[in-house]
Symmetry: C3
Subunit: 458 residues, 3 copies
Amino acid sequence: MAGSPRRAAGRRLLLPLLCLFFQGATAILFAVFVRYNHETDAALWHWGNHSHAANEFYFRYPSFQDVHVMIFVGFGFLMAFLQRYGFSSVGFTFFLAAFALQWSTLVQGFLHAFHGGHIHVGVESMINADFCAGAVLISFGAILGKTGPAQLLLMALLEVVLFGVNEFVLLSLLGVRDAGGSMTIHTFGAYFGLVLSRVLYRPRLEKSKHRQGSVYHSDLFAMIGTIFLWIFWPSFNSAPTALGDGQHRTALNTYYSLTASTLSTFALSALVSRDGRLDMVHIQNAALAGGVVVGTSSEMMLTPFGALAAGFLAGTVSTLGYKFFTPILESKFKVQDTCGVHNLHGMPGILGALLGVLVAGLATHEAYGDGLENVFPLIAEGQRSATSQAMHQLFGLFVTLMFASVGGGLGGLLLKLPCLDYPSDSQCYEDQVYWEVPGEHEDTAQEPLRVEEPDTQA
Amino acid sequence: MAGSPRRAAGRRLLLPLLCLFFQGATAILFAVFVRYNHETDAALWHWGNHSHAANEFYFRYPSFQDVHVMIFVGFGFLMAFLQRYGFSSVGFTFFLAAFALQWSTLVQGFLHAFHGGHIHVGVESMINADFCAGAVLISFGAILGKTGPAQLLLMALLEVVLFGVNEFVLLSLLGVRDAGGSMTIHTFGAYFGLVLSRVLYRPRLEKSKHRQGSVYHSDLFAMIGTIFLWIFWPSFNSAPTALGDGQHRTALNTYYSLTASTLSTFALSALVSRDGRLDMVHIQNAALAGGVVVGTSSEMMLTPFGALAAGFLAGTVSTLGYKFFTPILESKFKVQDTCGVHNLHGMPGILGALLGVLVAGLATHEAYGDGLENVFPLIAEGQRSATSQAMHQLFGLFVTLMFASVGGGLGGLLLKLPCLDYPSDSQCYEDQVYWEVPGEHEDTAQEPLRVEEPDTQA
Amino acid sequence: MAGSPRRAAGRRLLLPLLCLFFQGATAILFAVFVRYNHETDAALWHWGNHSHAANEFYFRYPSFQDVHVMIFVGFGFLMAFLQRYGFSSVGFTFFLAAFALQWSTLVQGFLHAFHGGHIHVGVESMINADFCAGAVLISFGAILGKTGPAQLLLMALLEVVLFGVNEFVLLSLLGVRDAGGSMTIHTFGAYFGLVLSRVLYRPRLEKSKHRQGSVYHSDLFAMIGTIFLWIFWPSFNSAPTALGDGQHRTALNTYYSLTASTLSTFALSALVSRDGRLDMVHIQNAALAGGVVVGTSSEMMLTPFGALAAGFLAGTVSTLGYKFFTPILESKFKVQDTCGVHNLHGMPGILGALLGVLVAGLATHEAYGDGLENVFPLIAEGQRSATSQAMHQLFGLFVTLMFASVGGGLGGLLLKLPCLDYPSDSQCYEDQVYWEVPGEHEDTAQEPLRVEEPDTQA
């Protein structure tokens, strides 16, 4: 990793020092600003003399736990498909998400729940923080294997802030609806990561090409991630929606959409392969596009048919993206997208935003009845027409793309700071750079990687 | 797989075309028939002016998610015990279940929830569709490794219809109680698959015998499936039962039954082995029989002791089945049962049905109080005596066995259609036939399987 | 394992006979004593004419299921890090916990829920039984790889009783608060296991040293355990707390504490290693210490900052414990702690008890309002001052340490009964002693272990 003893010592210290500093800083900010909200505070809750059954906890905590599984198990294991990068995929997911939860509690709290000088927290802030961690992990997927943990921590530091600001602009200033985050999470996370990956372009990455694929068991570990993401996606999209019919409809739409993206992924994967065999990369990823594509619209009156159609389209586009677009992305656009987040989160996210434009534009008082207030409050209150809401949705997509691109560019510059350690071109996708790795088989100590100077990173 | 280029091209196209056709067909049927029910529709729900807390979503969605984990993670990984069939086990489970969810939403909808020309869907239809997918996956277990994905898709097409009809006959026409599906899911799925496997009997399957066992890590992946099935089985049985005491009692009974089947499986596995060592096949499968055996009776006043006794019996029968009956099933009855579904679902399912006969026959107004209405409405309303209910339960078992046998036979004929592709006798239990498989170790490309003409399949 | 045929036959029979005897005994006790409580009994529930929504099931079952995942998936896979002990780790966890659930239902029932000659069971008894199983599995972690299943069964038999008595003394006699079990589960389980391991000290355990580490994939399996434990720990601590704000606050505090222990673990792991690389053992274990350390205090008004600080401290202490204290524990104190339960459960458990002393001592009517009744009923009713409550908490810790130490000592003597089978010093951490193990690779039968006389065990 580092040729001189001094750099080695620096490397040894940088990650711990950053961790300790950030943990200290968030702890102080927590002490000053973060307080229980009226549903978690013993005195406030009992002062209100509520029935315990009315506590928000019982309506959102099961969904929160499903989301929590998606973030830590789903994303972590999905990225463990690489043959020698399982420790880093699962471990850095764990590390980055834990940091993002704290940091986004503060950022989102200042923007959304800052009253009387304090941030008030409860199950909704837990869900929102997990969502933000999801966006960070999507970006992580684009640069997986090519960055060190200190770099990743700085990326999260920046991305959490921009995520919060973008979300604030969309939801609070523009009145955009985006419960499941087709825009705020998937589009933002994907393009932030892709632009960042562009800035960190490595022309000689083929030196690590032999480690870029999977082995038999690593693909099965990745399927753990895929399946848990797939199963719990209905909870993801419905976790923050209005109670009652809102959560119910959102979960149902997402469930249907995912079945359709699964079928279209299997169909397309077999169709585009040389000999009709299925490709695990497609199954692991594109089958999930049905969850992304209804992120905006699943709380709306999308109809079960609409959910199927959306999912089918997303699975198709995503599979074709893996087959045909990812190679072009690298060769023409110099974007090395390790996990193909452009196919799973980027394009389906944009499609999801556009689907939201369409479904919002079709909203009528007749279709939603008194439920319109929950889904489109500005239309229900007469402040906006459905067409105007649709235009705002579309504008929200552009704002998101702008925040993501500028943010990814800034992130790339930040990660190129000379003090930061990263793997050399021939050491990418390799756990041993940052982990003590046991031998693959009993009684055989693995050869340590040769220590090299880091070379290119654009 | 296929000797001539034309067959290879046909194979390449058949699976995608079937997928796309079926997806198109279900999408059209969804567009015409499927609508949100009054708990998921924005206008209908708010028109009723309900408290959001009263939405069925909050009473059933957590159980639904547990069931969803069982179907996709549980069944998928349980079948991943085979050393070279993990991609297919997890992947085809994913594929088949996704299709079954859509298709059974329609079939069950027409039979159970068709009002005013429309099928109305909500969390209960999600649970029911997942249950149907469970039956399909049980049948899949009997023929695991010996069939191609296009065959499996046609099997699901047929089985979902017969499952729906059988369930309709039992629950709606005969007034049989079977919340957790000892009959409708386990007995039906097992015997459907076993008869189908009989029709597809391969006399020269020993050519693939070297691939029929597990390796160390594949057994651990299978344990992921086992444990998630075991943990969430209380949610499976209680997901569709009456709210309140009904769900509570069902979950509790199932929990106790599973602990007992686990203990008896460990005891019997050590007892019947050559040298007192435990056999992973028993632990992975027979320990779950406690969930199957109380599928019918766990919503009844089975008593905690009854649950323990039932679970103990089921674990014992199941373990002995794996040890002594599976070999006979192949040698004498020409049924090749890859996962031993006869031991895990067949015999415990029948036992569960009989236990339901017994417990229903013992029902009294005294034991159930006003709760009788929820568990045995026909007895509570005076239309039936407990003995008559018991007889109906028994008749339901025979109906199920008949539907399963005839259906499995039809399914076998369907899967022998000459246009369908399947692995040759020496290529069974091998992922490479249908998947692009990476090398087991870094930098070593696995030798591709030699292409052969398919040979026997009865 | 056993030199003479007679011992081999005895070994073959002992485990099954113990299992069958215990299962028979608990079944009889269930028949005599265990009854549905008023929330699970059809007649009792309907007699009360309750709304089904009021059933305890809906407030506790989702948390119960999360706890259930932790016990069976979390503990089981966390211990699967050993290269050749995955079957035993997952399998014996399954076996021990299943037995403990039945047995502790009886023991805890006699002590806590025995009314009118009967034990009344429902979702709360399920949660409590799972908690007790957790303590047994913690002790199992200390002796992992060095004991046979019959020994483990006897350990569970004893430990469940002592767990129940200790819990009864603390919660019922001393009025100690310990919802998440920093004392009753973690401290008790850890020191019981450590003292037991001391009694079973093996001076020549280095004969199995080559099997004591992990391999690449076993570390990934262990991460499945880690991540599921981490995710669901908020449900663990909040499962038994007061409804409403109580569960909500407990979950929130635990969530924050875990993020902090994760960050401090990553920081410390890199800091104390030779070359700045992260150690999987730390990440797998110490990152969880944040859940342990707030076991007592997370239901209290700990504040979000307090949760962060506690988690940070616990992760730090735990990581340092793995690095520096575990070797001393073996060399100086002759305690061979396979999983390092002293670092994950012992020290953080004690810290958690002390944190509970502190936070209880700071309780005021102002901070808790009318919620004081739920958290500190004896203070709310004026029977105790906050300081007195704190003293009782401290005394509870000493009681727990005493019960654990004496119990572990007794357990050690019990496990040294000459009729019990255990692996020899050169056969520790090896699945083949108790399991039929398939070859690691296709077509290669693994060499069976040489049969040896058991040698040292203290």
